[in-house]
Amino acid sequence: MPEFTLWDIVYNLLLAARWTVLLSLVAFVMGGFVALVLLLVRTAGNPWAMRLVRGYVELFQGTPLLMQLFILFFGLPLIGIDVSPWIAAMLGLTLFTSAFLTEIWRGCVESVNKGQWEASATLGMNFTQQMRYIILPQALRIAVAPTVGFSVQVVKGTAVTSIIGFVELTKAGTMITNATYAPFTVYGCVAVLYFVICYPLSLYARRLEGKLHNVSR
């Protein structure tokens, strides 16, 4: 039986961590895009569209990510779309991310002073112009810190995709454990790698938050 050194374990985990990073990035960018569309729909004022977006957000915030992944992974093949774990993981995390970001950004848009809407309307701006030139630039400033903070949740969410068989950091940890019988070391290393990815994001979010508070004071 081959011997596994600590370096073998860490090296293989690092290889798998690339997939964790890639999945996080894709889910975050695509989720952000979907969230922006949903945010515009939500704030444009059509009551039915508003209710629909609210329902969407509540559905994803009120059910486990694992269930969302299972439904995509087992449900899409039923309507004739074959999905690999990678596609299901990407889609699932994108939808999950979009729901949370919609809710975070809605709060930021609503925190922009109401007078700004009224003033820009008085200048004859339509909804698109108001959003583009007046509201979003101000909301963006408030939104950066909680958005960076949420990216940590996305990275941690990718761990759940290991359960539908997507080979990222956590799944690699399980596979290596089965080969080495050293769960303490392997899962310890897995945790450290997640920490190395997430902690800088957390720190950055906190620094941004501090900056924002100092400006508004």
Binding site: G62, K156, V160, G173, T174, P183, Y187, F195
Partner: protein, 223 residues
């Protein structure tokens, strides 16, 4: 060939799903009570005058908040036996939830404590109250009241997160769903129904926490 949905095939297994709901509820209850308790202790220790204690708590909070719950669970269930700590599936799941919620609620409760006006604490000091009395009678209740919505959301998140405990064979709701779909091969139907059950549970839990919060904070007389 179009797929024929068959939600009726779940009905014979309703007892399994019910058992799953019960266990998920138990996990959530243990996690919520002990986790929030741990969070209050942690927030208290975080404001300790002894720097080492405060720093240890800070490290705990950062370690837990920056790693996935699933990895924490695997570490506790598969990793700790190497140190001679052997836990049952339920114990490992409950412990992971308590530790996880404890870290988040430490941060949340701390934010509430920091929002207490300094004058209140000075006033209590001038009445010769000691640190424990000040914390118990002056600080904690208004602090909790302030952060109750955030704390409630975190409890719901942890309850939903318990679905990954199926991976260490803790027999909660997701485990029941996996088990049923292994028998009737109706994966989509089973997970669809289970997802609905989680949705209902999270709505009910949110309401319970809201009512409990009102009960805790709205009473006029002193406890």
């Amino acid at each position: 060939m179009a797929y024929q949905f068959d939600f009726g095939s779940i009905l014979p297994h309703w007892k399994l799903l019910l058992d799953g709901v019960v266990l998920t509820t138990e996990l959530a209850a243990v996690g919520a009570v002990a986790g929030v308790g741990l969070g209050i202790l942690g927030a208290w220790a975080r404001s300790s005058r002894i720097p080492v204690i405060s720093q240890i708590v800070a490290v705990y909070v950062e370690l837990i908040r920056n790693t996935p719950f699933l990895v924490q669970l695997f570490f506790i269930f598969f990793g700790l036996p190497a140190l001679g700590v052997k836990l049952s599936e339920f114990q490992a799941a409950a412990l992971a939830m308590v530790i996880n919620l404890g870290a988040y609620s430490t941060e949340i409760v701390r934010a509430g404590i920091q929002a207490i006006p300094q004058g209140q604490i000075e006033a209590a000091q001038s009445l010769a109250m000691n640190r424990v009395q000040i914390f118990r009678y002056i600080v904690i209740r208004p602090a909790l009241k302030k952060i109750w919505p955030a704390l409630s959301s975190q409890v719901v998140i942890v309850m939903l997160g318990s679905s990954v405990c199926s991976q260490i064979a803790a027999e909660e709701l997701t485990f029941a769903a996996n088990y049923i779909q292994g028998m009737n091969f109706r994966a989509f139907e089973v997970y669809f129904v289970t997802t609905g059950m989680y949705l209902v549970m999270s709505i009910v839990l949110r309401q319970i926490l809201k009512i409990f919060g009102n009960f805790l904070f709205e009473r006029r007389h002193h406890a």
